[in-house]
Every structure is written in structure tokens, then in C-alpha cells.
């Protein structure tokens, strides 16, 4: 590595008006993302606190029946306390609702979660995944052509600089430039966020650093692409080509994947699933009410037993009705991920979900275990509650199941401090992901982008070796 050439390349880029404009835009975007994320964080924090107070009031008032009904109707908002991950993306939206159908949750499945809406929110995912790619493409698409036009490529060659060396120095200097821009801007954004929200989390700081590290191969992909384009003979149309390539990888492919998958296999939304279940439950209630004649005359124990049977029947009906739909969902998810997988942006989104413990996807492969655990918990909940009317077991037990469910990637919807009765908690067979397996999963997901980098690198270097630089 020749330091002189590297410094020259970086200095030239710093003096480039394109870079200066982009730098300013990025700093502004990072600051704005910190402000908007802080507002969102504070509002979520308030709503979380309100929900906790609501549970406590219900428990204190002995309103267990109401609690169970709310749980079964998925009307209890027991969202997780907001985390600084909101700065990166709106991942802490889950779980909005305690939902036994959580195993069906997929952002692409829900009408409320279609990709574009998430993409264009002003957060780090938008900046790192979309804007940075465009920036690196626009910065690098003249890497070679500019030097060729100026004739300095010839002067470099005649002064003994190898062609491979020229292209590698260009590449490395773009990556250094990327880090020079991104690290201070993101750190400012993070510090501003912590200052505005009055929070502090070293874990999330480390995660953010990890995300920046992971974003390097994605930035590198766009740099290689830009360098490759910069060697095209007809340079006049390259800016159009650059915009199209960017839009293709970042917008067209992910959206096309969703559209194609939905065409191939039609599925129901989360809301439709809920309606099916509610209808089944309502029918069961009606049937039993007719049989028992007067539901209000039931004893407390009998009411619970009825409710339990009602829930189980409703769930069973729902499960039967949805079994085929679930399989369709799985098929569609695989299809969406398969098609969208060719987009580096989608790969980056997937990896960031692992880093920030979004973690719903592996649940798909453990449906039976999850279902069994949930049924077991429900029965135990009712049993516990009927024995100890004043305990929090019901809610906590239910929450603990959810915690395990969510904990597939390590995040909990409840803070640990809520578990005041650890001896009553249930242990299920659902395992949590440990750090090494997360790292392995991230590495596996990095393979496609690394391969893309390698292919582009070989193509660009090979093309440059044969380039006529007269």
C-alpha cells in the first residue's frame, strides 16, 4: 500500500464538491434521525409506562377475569420498553400486543408492515442502507473516468504505478472516506439521542459499532460497482445507469419480491388471522352459552373452566383453519427472502434484525413447540389464577412465555424487574440464541454480499488491466 497515493486520493475526494455536499446532507440526516428517534422513543416510553400502570391497577383491583379476557382478545398492550434500537429502525414496535399468533408475525405478511413504509423512515437503516449506497455509487462512478479524462492515469502509469495498485488505492480510499463520514456523524447522532432521551446503553453502542462494521461490505459493494461503471466507454449515460442500479437493488428488488410472492401464494394478513380466531371464539361462546343457558349463574371456578375450554376450542379452530395458511406464509417468506436476497439492501436489513434482536423468523421452524408451550402456559395460568387470586402469576407467566418466544433472538418484551415471582415461572423448551450462534448467522448472511464483492472486484480489476488509457 502506497501511503502517498492513498493520501492523494483521499485529498482529491475531500476537495470534490460532490463529497462536500453529501457530507453535509449526511450530517443533517443523522442529526434529524436522532431527533425523530428521540421523539418516538419518549412517546413509546410513556405508552409503555401507561400500560404497566394499567396492568398493575387491574391486578391490584383483583380484575383477573378482565385480564384474561383482555389477554385472549389480544387487547393488552404489553409492549417492550422502548430501546435505543429505535434510532436504527422501528424494530421495537413489537410486540404491540400479546399475541399467541406471534409465530405468524412477519413484516411482509402484514398490510401494516409493507417494506417501503419501513424503508423511508428517517433512521439509520434509511441512511446506512439507502443513502450511503447512493452516496458511494455517486462518489465512485467517476473514479477511473475522471483520472482518464484528466490524463493523470497516464502520468501515474508512466511513473511506475501498477494498474492494480491504482484501482486498489481508489477502492481503499473510498472505504476510508466512508468511515470518515459515517463514524463521526453516527456518533454525534447517538450522543444526541442519548442526551435527548436521558438514556445510556453501552450494549447498544457496541451494537451500533457492529452495524457500522457490518455495513462496510455493503458500502464496498457500491464502491466496486461505481468503479466498474467508471470504466464504461460511454460515460455520458452513467449517471442514469447509477441511479437505476441503486433503485434496482434498494427499491425495485425488495418490492418486486413482495409483489411476486403475494401473487404466487395469497395469504391473510395478521388482522385477518385475528378475525378468524375471534370468530371461532365467539361461535364457541355462543354455543356454550346456549348449552349452559345462563352464563352469569356460573360459579367462579366454572366460569374459568368454561373460559379455558372456550379458549382452547377457539384456538383449535383457528389452528385448523390456519394450518394451510401458515404453510403458505412460510413458503411466501422463503420466496420473498430468496428473491429479495439479491438486493444488498435487504441483506443488510436482515442482518440488522439479528443484531438488534428482532428475531421472529426462526420461530417459524418451531411452531409445534411454541404452540404446545403456549397451550401449556394458558392452562397453568388459569389453574394458578384460580388458586391464587391476588398473584401476578397469570400475567407474568404469560409474559414469560412471550419472553421466551421473543428471546429467540434475545430480546424481552418485559424488563427483568417485573419478575417478582421467579419460583412460579415456567420453563419451556424454546431455546434462546446465544452470541456465538448470532455471530454465525450474521456471518452466513454476509456470505452473499462478500461473494458479490468478490465478483465485482475481479471484474473491475480485470477490466482495468485491459483498459485503454490513452
Amino acid at each position: 500500500m502506497n501511503q502517498i497515493i492513498l493520501v492523494k486520493d483521499i485529498r482529491l475526494m475531500f476537495k470534490d464538491l460532490k463529497f462536500q455536499i453529501f457530507f453535509l446532507i449526511l450530517v443533517v440526516l443523522f442529526i434529524l434521525s436522532a431527533i425523530s428517534s428521540s421523539v418516538s422513543f419518549i412517546s413509546k416510553q410513556k405508552s409503555f409506562q401507561n400500560e404497566r400502570n394499567r396492568f398493575n391497577d387491574l391486578v391490584a383491583d383483583g380484575q383477573h377475569i378482565q385480564l384474561i379476557q383482555l389477554l385472549q382478545n389480544r387487547m393488552l398492550m404489553v409492549a417492550s420498553p422502548p430501546s435505543p434500537a429505535v434510532l436504527f429502525s422501528e424494530y421495537d414496535n413489537y410486540p404491540d400486543i400479546i399475541n399467541t399468533g406471534i409465530m405468524f408475525y412477519e413484516p411482509e405478511f402484514s398490510n401494516n408492515n409493507i417494506g417501503l413504509r419501513r424503508m423511508f423512515r428517517l433512521n439509520w437503516l434509511f441512511i446506512l442502507g439507502m443513502i450511503m449506497g447512493l452516496m458511494m455509487l455517486i462518489m465512485s462512478f467517476e473514479a477511473i473516468s475522471q483520472e482518464k479524462r484528466a490524463g493523470t492515469l497516464r502520468l501515474l502509469t508512466i511513473n511506475g504505478v501498477k494498474r492494480q495498485s491504482i484501482i486498489w488505492h481508489k477502492y481503499i480510499s473510498y472505504l476510508i472516506l466512508y468511515l470518515i463520514v459515517i463514524i463521526p456523524a453516527s456518533m454525534t447522532s447517538m450522543i444526541l439521542f442519548f442526551a435527548l432521551t436521558g438514556t445510556w446503553s453501552m450494549t447498544f453502542m457496541l451494537k451500533f459499532l457492529l452495524i457500522i462494521l457490518i455495513s462496510i461490505p455493503f458500502a464496498s459493494f457500491f464502491v466496486w460497482l461505481g468503479i466498474f461503471i467508471s470504466m464504461s466507454k460511454n460515460h455520458r449515460n452513467t449517471i442514469v445507469m447509477v441511479m437505476f442500479i441503486w433503485a434496482f437493488f434498494v427499491v425495485i428488488v425488495p418490492q418486486a419480491a413482495i409483489i411476486i410472492a403475494k401473487q404466487v401464494s395469497s395469504i391473510k394478513t395478521v388482522i385477518e388471522y385475528r378475525e378468524i380466531r375471534e370468530q371461532a371464539r365467539y361461535d364457541e361462546m355462543m354455543r356454550q352459552a346456549e348449552e349452559e343457558n345462563d352464563i352469569m349463574s356460573l360459579s367462579f371456578e366454572d366460569f374459568f373452566a368454561l373460559l379455558a375450554s372456550n379458549i382452547n376450542v377457539a384456538d383449535e379452530k383457528k389452528n385448523q383453519a390456519l394450518q394451510r395458511e401458515i404453510e403458505e406464509n412460510m413458503r411466501q417468506t422463503r420466496m420473498i427472502r430468496g428473491i429479495a436476497g439479491i438486493s444488498p439492501f435487504m441483506q443488510f436489513v436482515n442482518i440488522s434484525e439479528i443484531v438488534f434482536d428482532k428475531g421472529f423468523y426462526l420461530l417459524n421452524f418451531q411452531q409445534e413447540t411454541t404452540k404446545q408451550a403456549i397451550n401449556q402456559i394458558k392452562n397453568l395460568m388459569i389453574e394458578q389464577d384460580s388458586r391464587d387470586e391476588t398473584s401476578h402469576n397469570l400475567l407474568y407467566s404469560y409474559a414469560y412465555v412471550q419472553r421466551l418466544v421473543f428471546n429467540r433472538r434475545g430480546e424481552t418484551p418485559f424488563s427483568e424487574e417485573l419478575f417478582e415471582h421467579p419460583h412460579l415461572l415456567f420453563v419451556t423448551e424454546i431455546e434462546t440464541d446465544d452470541v456465538p450462534s448470532k455471530i454465525m448467522e450474521i456471518l452466513m448472511k454476509l456470505i452473499p454480499i462478500l461473494v458479490l464483492n468478490l465478483v465485482l472486484m475481479v471484474g473491475a480489476v480485470g477490466k482495468f488491466e485491459r483498459l485503454d488509457i490513452r
Binding site: N2, I4, I5, K8, R11, L12, K15, D16, A150, G151, T152, L153, R154, L155, L156, T157, I158, N159, G160, V161, K162, D468, I469, R470
Partner: protein
């Protein structure tokens, strides 16, 4: 010393730009290549510099072969084109410093490889080539063509290469700048540098060259020494060759 043997270049479109060019220039001599556009002058220089690969033949500079050791050969060549290529965002001094920093003077017997920037006082070099002090630290974008040419020759000077390749270096220079540049080339020749220059300027070619060569259709069709040219009209000879080509093309 420069030696070219059977150098050929056929482009992808089938055009034969160089057809077994053979040429030899002794140390401390100026060789000017004359020829119409497309005669192959610039192609020859581009191949020697390594900008495009030849399809046949070889080039030697001081016994170093282009095909065997292109990188080392480039260490022995300085190149100056019609439009001097520099980084517009850098000053004249920064450009010179950069190219001096990346060039290496190859190791010789008893001497290690050195960096020209360590050997030369760059400001003095810029003054020597006639750049005014107030422009030394100015951005290149503010330079005239003549001033850029001076930076180009300064880069060539600090490289201290024994061979200079000049591709139409007088084109677009004003009379004063041309005069200064010519004086500089004489000085370099007297210092023992070998110079190969392509030009359209017949009068300057005759005035400066130790040997003049005329290229046509990728071939060197004539060479005459300064002594031979003293009694001949180079302008007439050149025009004869050009017209002959036009006739040949018409016959075809």
C-alpha cells in the same frame, strides 16, 4: 538509448496503426517523428509508455525490454503530452511533489533506489523551468497551457529519466512559451537525455532534431539526419510523402 524492433499494433476494429516499426535513437539525441494524423506517431509513444499493449515487437530502453520488464522500463521514461495531465485540485507544487514522491530512481551500482523528492529541491526545479514564484502555490486550474507544460517538464526533470517521450509538446503554446520550452529541451539533450518527439511542426522538427523520421500508415518511411537535411527541403519531402499517400489512397 531507445531501440524499437518490429513494433506492431492492430486495434480491435482491425485498424493496423503500427506496422513493424523499427527505430533506434542514440543517447543524447533528439528524434522527431513527423506524420499526418493517424500515421502512428502517438500509437508508438503510447505503446512505449505502456498505455496500450503492442500486438507484436518490442521496445528497449538502455537494454531493458518492455515485454520483459515494463515497470522498470517506465522508470526510465518521462512523458509529456500535448495537454499536460495534472490534478486540477492541487497546486503546481503539490502536483510536482506527488509525482516526485511516487517516482523511484532505480538502484544503480553502488547506489540504492532513491526518491526524486529527496534528491531535488522542488521549488528550485519549478523556478528552473520558468514558473513564476506567485504561481507555484496556486491551483493548477488557474494555470495557462504554457504553465501546465512547465509543470509537466518539471515532473519529467525530477524523475531524472534518461528517455523523454514528447507527444506534440509545442501544440497550443504561445511563441514565448515555445521558445522557452525549446531551450529547455536543448539543455536536457546536452545533459545526455534521449528525446523522442512527435510533432506536426516541420520547421521546429528540422530546427531541433538530430534525426527526423516520417511516419505513414504505421510505418517509418523515411529517416534523415540533421546533416542530410541541411541540403534538403524537409517541407517538400514531407508534403511529397503526404501527397503520395493521398494518391495511393485514391488509386485504391
Amino acid at each position: 538509448m531507445l531501440k524499437i524492433t518490429d513494433l506492431s499494433k492492430r486495434y480491435e476494429d482491425g485498424n493496423l496503426a503500427l506496422d513493424n516499426l523499427c527505430l533506434e535513437i542514440r543517447r543524447g539525441k533528439i528524434f522527431t517523428l513527423l506524420g499526418a494524423n493517424g500515421a502512428g506517431k502517438s500509437t508508438a509513444i503510447n505503446i512505449i509508455c505502456g498505455f496500450i499493449p503492442p500486438t507484436g515487437g518490442d521496445v528497449w530502453v538502455d537494454e531493458i525490454s518492455l515485454s520483459e520488464n515494463p515497470l522498470l522500463l517506465r522508470c526510465k521514461i518521462a512523458y509529456l503530452s500535448e495537454n499536460v495531465m495534472l490534478y486540477d485540485n492541487f497546486t503546481g507544487y503539490q502536483n510536482l511533489k506527488f509525482f516526485a514522491d511516487i517516482s523511484k530512481i532505480p538502484a544503480t551500482k553502488g547506489n540504492k533506489a532513491t526518491n526524486p523528492a529527496m534528491k531535488f529541491n522542488l521549488i528550485k526545479v519549478l523556478r528552473d523551468v520558468g514558473l513564476q514564484d506567485e504561481f507555484i502555490h496556486e491551483n493548477i486550474s488557474k494555470y495557462s497551457k504554457g504553465m501546465r507544460q512547465k509543470i509537466g517538464i518539471a515532473i519529467a526533470l525530477v524523475k531524472d529519466a534518461p528517455m523523454l517521450l514528447l507527444d506534440e509538446p509545442f501544440s497550443g503554446l504561445d511563441p514565448k512559451a515555445s521558445h522557452d520550452f525549446q531551450a529547455l529541451l536543448y539543455k536536457l539533450r546536452n545533459d545526455g537525455k534521449t528525446i523522442l518527439m512527435s510533432t506536426h511542426d516541420i520547421f521546429r522538427a528540422k530546427e531541433m532534431a538530430d534525426v527526423v523520421g516520417i511516419m505513414q500508415g504505421g510505418k517509418l518511411v523515411m529517416t534523415k539526419t540533421r546533416t542530410e537535411l541541411e541540403s534538403e527541403d524537409l517541407n517538400r519531402i514531407y508534403l511529397d510523402y503526404i501527397e503520395e499517400r493521398v494518391v495511393m489512397e485514391n488509386e485504391e
